[in-house]
């Protein structure tokens, strides 16, 4: 015998393992299309970890939205199908499933400090191949690109050296090889 609940809705399913997936969504570049996509995520209770949007082909009026999301395998499948159902959506590709995706992110990192901290920050930036794109006598702004974990690592190292703020683009992804999505 099961326990009786005091709701007329079924109980929540037992927790399953969450996975992180990167989805590339090719959409018509028209007003409101981003609102449709993020409204779908908030309305259905899906997560957005990272979101990147930009026009890709000006003449074709197409934009590419790259979304990093987490969920159970069933939820990830739902997200893909729900996105596909939106009228202005052309394609949805689960980049994680293809196993052929290159993912990159760009961050600008502002660090303030003098003396040994300043030298150390520059040394680390060099090791991470971050470029100095702005400098004052007491600060640097570094530009760094790479996988998210590399950027995380760099930010972590800058923390004790006078990290002021970070601006990140979110993840952009593309498939390896000659074929397009």
């Amino acid at each position: 015998m099961t326990t009786t609940t005091t709701s007329h809705y079924p109980t929540a399913p037992t927790a399953q393992k969450l996975e992180s997936h990167t989805l590339s969504v090719l959409v018509d570049n028209e007003p409101g299309v981003l609102a449709r996509v993020i409204g779908l995520f908030s309305g259905r209770g899906y997560n957005i970890e990272s979101l990147t949007v930009s026009e890709t082909e000006h003449r074709a009026h197409l934009s590419l939205i790259t979304i990093v999301t987490t969920g159970t395998p069933m939820v990830i499948e739902q997200i893909k199908n729900q996105l596909d159902r939106l009228v202005p959506v052309h394609h949805v590709v689960d980049m994680t499933v293809t196993g052929r995706a290159i993912e990159r992110e760009l961050a600008m990192v502002k660090v303030k400090g003098k003396g040994e901290h300043r030298v150390e920050a520059l040394r680390l930036a060099d090791a991470f191949r971050a470029r100095v794109i702005d400098a004052t006598t007491e600060s640097f702004i570094f530009e760094i690109t790479g996988k998210s974990d590399k950027i995380e690592q760099f930010i972590l190292l800058m923390l004790p050296l006078g990290l002021v703020e970070v601006s990140r683009t979110g993840i952009a992804a593309i498939l390896r090889g000659p074929e397009g999505m």
């Binding site: 015998m1 099961t2 326990t3 009786t4 609940t5 005091t6 709701s7 007329h8 809705y9 079924p10 109980t11 399913p13 037992t14 018509d28 007003p31 409101g32 609102a35 449709r36 409204g39 779908l40 309305g43 069933m74 499948e77 739902q78 199908n81 729900q82 596909d84 159902r85 939106l86 009228v87 202005p88 959506v89 052309h90």
Partner: protein, 586 residues
């Protein structure tokens, strides 16, 4: 051929070119140019409702009973927000609607202008798609596209928001073309390999079951015909969701009745015990599945749906087939006819024996009475006295809706209009207005509850104005019956706010609206009163005073599985062998 005209004229021209004969609406400042255009033509007839929610429900009834797109015209701001309930209802039940909303002039958008609201923002999650038309050059394409999107694939509501300056602007109209939308391509044909695998699985089944839904109705009468053919060819039992009633005739012995929370025992037990489930155009909604981890544990599942996002949403299926029901059913019928595998007659025989045992429990039975009208009896009499007529039924939401689904027999598709997904009280009356308009010679009955019907009662005025002789058959128990039933079962019988004091006198109310009122409170008078209702050639409000304490059974209580149904006290006791009878709560 293209013509120069104003945006407002384009709206009418596009509606006419799309085959629209009726539009339900309510005027206001931001749609006056369109109303002016309506005044100067006679291709599209406007039906003036009394509230914009009523306009959308009427359009839903119109659409559901004809298979055409239902059309709505409302003004900006409150006109649009009042339409939201209807739009959400249409989205949940996949009803094709095109709703044109007026908007403040483009230069005032975002300015908090009078009667301004962010219509596309508000309706984005409650439409299949929506548009804000900012240029007259886009208007003809958008209007035609709206009809295409509303009616193709999984149907749904589409909003076209047109600012007032665009309605005045002049532009070139173009006829609907067989255009290709840039990205929107609903898939109609199912994957042939998957259909073959499904047929093979079905042929090898020992305890098969068809579970069908509103998708079969939406796919058109041809889909229902093919479903009947397939069910008859296989000899398998069939059940259906609330939205699917009528796709398969209830008079057929292979019909097990509706399944789900208030479905029959035989339908739900068959769902639980089947070894192959063939789901066609249904979506494993929570009212259907009950407890998910105990849902039909031993079955292989085939799922046919035009919407890929319906597949594996709640229940993992073994053979998903994405396609239109009619297309897939056509392939299934053909493959079944040529299949070399013969179903195992012996196991099928014992499966039917088992089903007959469940049927013998008479799960819909209730205690008859000579003193008070039992609501179930009222529906039974209504069915008996109208079944030879050309009848369409709409409902509100609650106990009366479930009793109508259980006791009114549907033999044809598109005859049953009910709010399934959203569960909108107040749906039935305006919906019946739309149905009657589309079928002026037919008998259209709204089976109602007194609480629901008061939510949209004003639309009786619309029915009177357009001489639409709808019949509002109210099962009046003075309670929000379903709310009271849940309070009885789950909240210790504390009937918090579920009793309606100060109900109106429905007969006088009918008379005040220039309709006809009938009251009946004795079982012996019921047949006569129903005949009177049928014979009166004007809108009727029938106040049927029923047993106040009757509850809706059978029922799957909260958090339970299909084989843990709660039966009414009149059902047959458990002497017959039933699987897992220990779990049965009687």
């Amino acid at each position: 051929m293209s013509k120069e005209m104003t945006g407002a004229e384009m709206v009418i021209e596009a509606l006419a070119d799309q085959g629209v004969r009726h539009i339900f609406g309510y005027p206001g400042g931001a749609v006056l140019p369109i109303y002016d255009a309506i005044f100067q033509q006679d291709k599209v007839r406007h039906i003036l409702v009394r509230h914009e929610q009523g306009a959308v429900h009427a359009a839903e009834g119109y659409a559901r009973s004809t298979g055409k797109v239902g059309c709505v015209l409302v003004t900006s701001g409150p006109g649009a927000t009042n339409a939201v309930t209807g739009l959400t209802d249409a989205l949940m039940d996949s009803i094709p609607i095109v709703c044109i909303t007026g908007q403040v002039p483009t230069h005032l958008i975002g300015n908090d202008a009078f009667q301004e609201c962010d219509t596309v923002g508000i309706t984005r999650p409650c439409t299949k798609h929506n548009y804000l038309v900012k240029s007259i050059a886009d208007l003809p394409r958008v209007l035609h596209e709206a009809f295409h999107i509303a009616s193709s694939g999984r149907p749904g509501p589409v909003v076209v928001d047109i600012p007032k300056d665009i309605q005045f602007a002049k532009g070139t109209y173009s006829k609907p073309k067989d255009f290709q939308h840039k990205g929107y391509r609903p898939k109609l044909k199912g994957d042939m390999e998957k259909i073959k695998a499904a047929i093979e699985l079905m042929a090898r089944a020992k305890r098969p079951l068809f579970y069908t839904g509103g998708g079969v109705i939406n796919s058109g009468p041809h889909a229902s015909a093919l479903l009947r053919e397939l069910v008859q060819l296989t000899g398998y039992p069939i059940t259906s969701t609330l939205m699917g009633l009528g796709a398969f005739p209830s008079a057929n012995p292979q019909w097990l009745g509706m399944l789900g929370m208030h479905g029959t025992l035989e339908a739900n037990m068959a769902m639980h015990d089947c070894d192959v489930m063939v789901c066609i155009g249904a979506r494993f909604d929570d009212r259907i599945t009950g407890r998910l981890d105990a849902f039909s544990p031993g079955s292989k599942k085939i799922h046919v749906d035009i919407d890929a996002s319906s597949i594996n949403k709640n229940v993992k299926v073994d053979i998903p087939i994405i396609g239109d029901c009619a297309h897939v059913l056509e392939d299934m019928v053909r493959l079944w006819r040529t299949s070399s595998i013969q179903p195992d007659k012996k196991s099928l025989q014992s499966w039917w024996t088992q089903i007959d045992k469940w049927r013998a429990r008479k799960s819909l039975a209730y205690r008859p009475s000579n003193e008070v009208i039992k609501p179930q009896y009222a529906i039974q009499r209504l069915y008996e006295l109208t079944k030879d007529k050309d009848v369409y039924i709409t409902t509100e939401v609650g106990q009366h809706q479930m009793w109508a689904a259980q006791f009114f027999g549907f033999q044809e598709p598109n005859r049953w209009m009910t709010s399934g997904g959203l569960g909108t009280m107040g749906y039935g009356l305006p919906s019946s207005v739309g149905v009657q308009l589309a079928h002026p010679k037919s008998l259209v009955i709204d089976i109602a509850g007194e609480a629901s019907v008061l939510m949209t009662m004003q639309e009786i005025s619309t029915a009177v104005q357009y001489r639409l002789p709808i019949k509002i058959f109210i099962l009046n128990n003075q309670y929000m019956g379903m709310v009271r039933q849940w309070q009885e079962l789950l909240h210790g019988g504390r009937y918090s706010e579920s009793y309606t004091h100060s109900l109106p006198d429905f007969v006088k109310l009918a008379e005040a609206y220039h309709a006809h009122g009938i009251r009946c409170d004795k079982p012996g008078d019921l047949d006569h009163a129903i005949r009177e209702m049928i014979d009166v050639d004007k809108p009727v409000i029938f106040d049927c005073l029923v047993d106040q304490n009757e509850n809706c059974f059978p029922m799957i209580p909260s958090g339970r599985a299909h084989n843990e149904m709660l039966l009414g006290d009149a059902a047959e006791k458990l002497e017959d062998a039933i699987t897992e009878e220990g779990k049965m709560l009687v």
